[in-house]
């Protein structure tokens, strides 16, 4: 029976409405639609007009909540989103579903080979530590270059800083065991990670929302990588134990082959998993921020209580500064990931208040430590380590102070939430610039010591 266009539109809208129910699969919707159409046709045959027939048929179908509840009772597994890594119906014609998997595995093995070759040829451990990021990153960036179909211009824009960084790290005459060398090795991955960000955004790194996507990606990547590492550790542990009982020592193979391949390879695989799951599974990083924000507030407050009466802070050294940086980075991550999941249009709630408390508490702890630290630097002079830690501390401080100011404005309803979000994404490149300074300028200033 042919229905009018208006009727078709009504049924289309109803279909979309039903499809949003997770417990009702597309095949079920087809089944229900067939039912609805039969019902409408029969009702029209009894003399009802189109609209009346449609309304009665919908009414007879029953309350959608109740029906979807019944479906959920029968198909509870559908409420768990399943990650399908190899989609059965590939959307790109001509690209078989296993092609991406093949590329990912090839890149993972490639990253392993690069690290293995690095250990074999670079010899010196310090040289290897400086170059480790350089060895792994091209494979991760290569995955994004393939996935995002990067233009030649973007690829060139990635290759030039990459090459410059490689030259600086290997041409500078670092004093063996010096702190500028260690700092360069620690900060080079930050620069590389931002380059990976440019590849991730497909060259559109100026866009705030793409930057936020990269932040989300980073958080999920850390979590997936940790999960892979845990799984890998269990597997290796079991194999290790079983072989030991048989009198075979796995350790040399583990050190020489398994770890050099598994550690960088897992990074590429984790990146692929995060890419594959982004539309299917909720992000977990924002969930963790909800759990850890109140706990971190408690930690910071207890730190404040312990520190304030201690007064003199005699034993502060760069270790404390580094610890402080770690705390600020933690607070920043908590802030960033809850912002990344927040609906900008939602009115401020309890959690936003809690977040402001967190940031203010972190700033208070930092202020106490920073004064102690500065007096000591004034007294005993500076070192590359102290300056690097202090510089990062100041960058984090500026970031958090401005974030606290903006989120207070948000809570009072004076500023839109989007402004707070924009501040986060706009500030991110500053860390990259700082990392470049530490890698490139510090060795020159401190005579490679």
């Amino acid at each position: 029976m042919e229905l009018h266009a208006e009727q078709e539109a009504q049924i289309g809208r109803w279909r979309g409405w039903v499809q949003r129910r997770q417990a009702i699969s597309p095949a079920d919707v087809d089944e229900l639609e067939d039912h609805l159409r039969e019902q409408v046709a029969d009702l029209r045959a009894t003399g009802l007009d189109d609209d009346e027939a449609f309304l009665v048929a919908i009414k007879r179908m029953g309350n959608l909540d109740a029906v979807s509840h019944e479906f959920a009772r029968e198909h509870s597994e559908r409420l768990w989103k399943q990650l399908v890594l190899l989609p059965e119906d590939a959307e790109d014609a001509g690209a078989p579903p296993w092609r991406e998997l093949g590329i990912v595995l090839a890149l993972a093995v490639g990253a392993g080979l690069a690290v293995k070759a690095g250990t074999a040829w670079l010899g010196d451990e310090a040289v290897l530590a400086r170059n480790l990021g350089l060895l792994v990153l091209p494979f991760l960036a290569g995955y994004f270059a393939w996935k995002r179909r990067l233009t030649a211009r973007v690829v060139a824009a990635l290759l030039v800083p990459f090459a410059l960084l490689a030259v600086v790290l290997n041409v500078y005459p670092f004093v063996p065991g010096g702190s500028t060398e260690l700092l360069a090795a620690l900060h080079a991955p930050v620069v590389l990670w931002l380059l990976a960000g440019i590849a991730y955004t497909g060259g559109r790194w100026r866009s705030d929302s793409r930057r936020m996507d990269f932040v989300r990606f980073t958080g999920e990547l850390v979590i997936y990588y940790t999960l892979l590492a845990l799984g890998g550790a269990v597997l290796v542990g079991l194999t290790f134990g079983a072989l030991q009982v048989l009198g075979i020592d796995l350790e040399p193979v583990l050190e020489d082959w398994i770890l050099p391949f598994a550690v960088p390879g897992a990074l590429v695989v984790a990146a692929w998993l995060v890419e594959a799951k982004q539309n299917v599974v909720e992000n977990i990083a924002p969930v963790l921020t909800r759990v850890f924000t109140p706990l971190t507030i408690l930690m910071l407050l207890s730190l404040l209580v312990v520190l304030t009466p201690a007064g003199g802070l005699v034993d502060v050294d760069r270790g404390l500064l580094i610890l402080m940086d770690a705390i600020l980075v933690l607070v920043l991550a908590l802030l960033l990931y809850s912002i990344s999941a927040r609906d900008p249009l939602e009115p401020p709630g309890l959690f936003d208040g809690l977040q402001l408390v967190l940031v203010v508490a972190a700033l208070a702890v930092d202020a106490v430590m920073l004064t102690a630290m500065l007096t000591r630097i004034a007294e005993f002079g500076s070192s590359p380590n102290k300056i690097a830690a202090l510089g990062l501390n100041l960058l984090l401080l500026v970031h958090l102070v401005r974030a606290a100011w903006l989120s207070a404005g948000c809570l009072l309803g004076r500023r839109p939430f989007a402004e707070l979000e924009r501040w986060q994404t706009r500030y991110l490149p500053v860390y990259g610039v700082w990392a470049v300074i530490v890698v490139v300028v510090f060795p020159l200033v401190f005579a490679f010591a």
Partner: protein, 120 residues
């Protein structure tokens, strides 16, 4: 007269199995048959039929296959299985006992309540 929803729920499985025992059908046709058999007084919430059919399928009492309707739409047909027939026979015995007990109660009571209800 509207049938109480608990009673509808209790009779749903044997009714569906019984109707399918007569021949394969699709969802809407099953409901139409229920309506015919009860003279229109057993109205189900249409949407609820499908979770029930899926449950029976999971239990192995019915099997399903996709076909096409006269209009060319995808349509799912259901057929009773051997285990479904066994379940139906089992239910039939249970309902026979219930119906028999009820009949005796109605006979003992002088006035069957059904007549007054229909009048109202």
């Amino acid at each position: 007269m509207r049938i109480d929803k608990d009673l509808v729920a209790a009779s749903a499985t044997p009714l569906v199995l019984g109707i399918l025992a007569d021949g394969d059908l699709y969802g809407y046709a099953i409901l139409k048959r229920v309506s015919e058999l009860s003279g229109g007084s057993m109205q189900w919430t249409d949407g609820m039929l499908y979770p029930l059919l899926h449950r029976l399928e999971r239990l192995g009492h019915v099997s399903s296959s996709w076909g096409t309707s006269e209009a060319g739409r995808r349509r799912k047909h259901y057929a009773i299985t051997a285990s479904g027939r066994a379940a139906l026979a089992d239910r039939q015995e249970q309902w026979a006992v219930v119906a028999d007990a009820l009949r005796q109660v109605w006979q003992a009571a002088q006035q069957p309540p059904a007549t007054t209800e229909r009048w109202a």
